[in-house]
């Protein structure tokens, strides 16, 4: 029969092993901590990011021609409205390709942002690993510099 001490020993052994592992950061399922280089940690709500992505997906499309009316009352207002609509229609050949281009750009951005929010949880461990690699490269560069200096002597 094992005793409590054996279980505690096993847990502390596992804790030590984890401490030695590269920090494979796991995110809180609702909060996403993002740390700038040496800066403060900003915590974003996963839900907020997803809401923003959804809003973007809904509103990225530009409409080249909108229904317009004049604020002026009576006949004058009606004439202005007709003229504005005519002007819009006549400019459509110019505006529409710009809107399409912008819509495409917005679409790409919205999709990219959505992908980012979805994939972010999986990216964090990679970011942590990249940080590790960067540290190692800096250390190796310093070592190489020292070695070069020694060889020079």
């Amino acid at each position: 029969m094992i005793d409590n001490q054996a279980v505690r020993d096993m847990v502390s052994r596992v804790k030590d092993e984890i401490a030695r592992m590269p920090h494979d950061c796991i995110l809180d399922f609702d909060r996403i901590p993002i740390q700038d280089m040496n800066g403060p940690i900003t915590v974003f709500s996963r839900r907020d990011m997803k809401d923003a992505a959804q809003r973007l997906m809904k509103s990225y499309k530009l409409i080249p021609e909108r229904d317009i009316e004049s604020d002026k009352p009576g006949m004058k207002g009606r004439v202005i409205t007709i003229l504005k609509r005519a002007a819009r229609k006549s400019l459509r050949f110019y505006i529409e390709p710009i809107c399409e281009q912008q819509t495409e750009l917005n679409h790409l951005f919205a999709c990219g942002f959505r992908q980012f929010t979805l994939a972010f949880t999986d990216m964090r461990p990679d970011i942590a690993k990249m940080d590790d690699h960067e540290d190692r490269i800096i250390r190796l560069e310093k070592l190489a510099k020292v070695n070069r200096a020694r060889q020079g002597k």
């Binding site: 094992i2 096993m10 399922f29």
Partner: protein
């Protein structure tokens, strides 16, 4: 005193409080007491002669005993003072409202907040208290209860667990995968989100594994939607299963096929699922909070930290160490003995004798 009745808000079918109530009723009847269960809501699956609507409660004298099961916020907590007889509260714990601090959970927040307020207000009308655990007992004392408060573990009808499990579930979950199980209602205090995070790490270590979160949920609660959405986002929809409310034979099948039982809950008044896991010989890995260490009684693996990596790697270490795993199961079996039906029933009889003696002393 000639009558002992039990009063509660909801006589459920298969839930811990409902089972406890039925078990007490069985003991009282066996011992020859004139007794009955009276609830505001009675589950349709409960036999008609077992529990009656509260409106049918009558004919009590001032020296009869009313055992009132207190577990939530309800106006019944105040109305129970109007029922004649000496009041004994059986306290099953109320979740701290802080766990439900979000707009979508406002209903639960208010219910728990009112429940705790009402429990404090009831100190003056209660003559004796029984608490599921020492943790619950201490909570009552902190709330200002000056009457005697004794511990009475929940009476668990273990023979029910020997029923035939659901064949379909048995086949489905005996496919060689490592099944990690948690049973309990989906609620923020039970921290199913933490289970998912820990499983995310475990799944990398043991890809042939699944997490089964068995328990009723209400889709109107945002917590549930968030959990389900999160599981989809991290691409584990096929490996994490939310069963929702399922029949008892399916729950038995889940216990029979489970490899590990995880409990990362942050608030439990007793935690019957831990005892169930002990019964089915499943190694338990649990977070040290509220009444969990008391129920485990030194068995299982109790973690002071629920870092996902720790939960996952401890589980993997147990998977790889047969001796440790069986040793833990043996200790759990020993602890299970203290919750055996006979021991809990004997304790109830002893508590009841103390209650009656205390009331007789008062009336002298």
């Amino acid at each position: 005193m000639s009558k002992i009745v039990q009063v509660l808000l909801h006589q459920g079918y298969g839930d811990a409080i409902g089972n406890d109530c039925l078990a007490i009723d069985r003991i009282l009847r066996h011992d020859g007491w004139d007794t009955g269960i009276y609830a505001r809501v009675v589950d349709k699956r409960i036999p008609a002669d077992t529990a009656k609507p509260l409106s049918e409660l009558s004919g009590l004298d001032d020296d009869d005993i009313v055992l009132y099961h207190l577990s939530t916020g309800t106006d019944l907590n105040f109305k129970v003072s109007g029922i004649p007889g000496r009041k004994v509260v059986i306290y099953h714990n109320i979740t701290p409202p802080g766990f439900f601090l979000s707009p979508s959970n406002y209903r639960m927040y208010k219910t728990c907040e009112e429940g705790l307020f009402q429990t404090r207000m009831m100190t003056g009308i209660v003559d004796y208290c029984l608490a599921d655990s020492e943790f619950n007992r201490q909570e009552l004392i902190r709330m200002g209860y000056r009457c005697p408060v004794d511990v009475q573990p929940i009476l668990i009808p273990f023979w029910e667990y020997d029923r035939e499990p659901d064949e379909d579930f048995m086949r489905r979950f005996s496919d060689g995968k490592v099944n990690i199980l948690f049973t309990g209602r989906l609620a923020p205090n039970k921290k199913q989100g933490d289970l998912i995070q820990a499983f995310r790490v475990f799944h990398r270590l043991v890809p042939d594994s699944r997490l089964i979160i068995a328990g009723a949920y209400d889709r109107s609660e945002r917590y549930v939607d968030d959990l389900i959405e999160y599981v989809g986002d991290i691409g584990l929809s096929n490996d994490i299963l939310f069963t929702g409310h399922i029949p008892f034979d399916k729950i038995i099948a889940l216990y029979r096929t489970a490899s590990f039982f995880w409990c990362l809950s942050e608030h439990e008044g007793f935690c019957v699922p831990l005892v169930e896991a002990m019964y089915f010989g499943i190694p338990i890995i649990a977070y040290n909070s509220s009444a969990v260490p008391e129920t485990l009684g030194g068995s299982g693996v109790l973690l002071d930290d629920k870092q996902p990596e720790l939960v996952a790697h401890v589980t993997k270490a147990l998977m790889d160490d047969f001796g440790m795993r069986t040793g833990i199961i043996e200790r759990q079996w020993m602890q299970l003995g203290s919750f055996s039906y006979d021991i809990a029933a004997a304790r109830f009889r002893a508590n009841l004798a103390k209650i009656i003696a205390s009331f007789q002393e008062d009336s002298r």
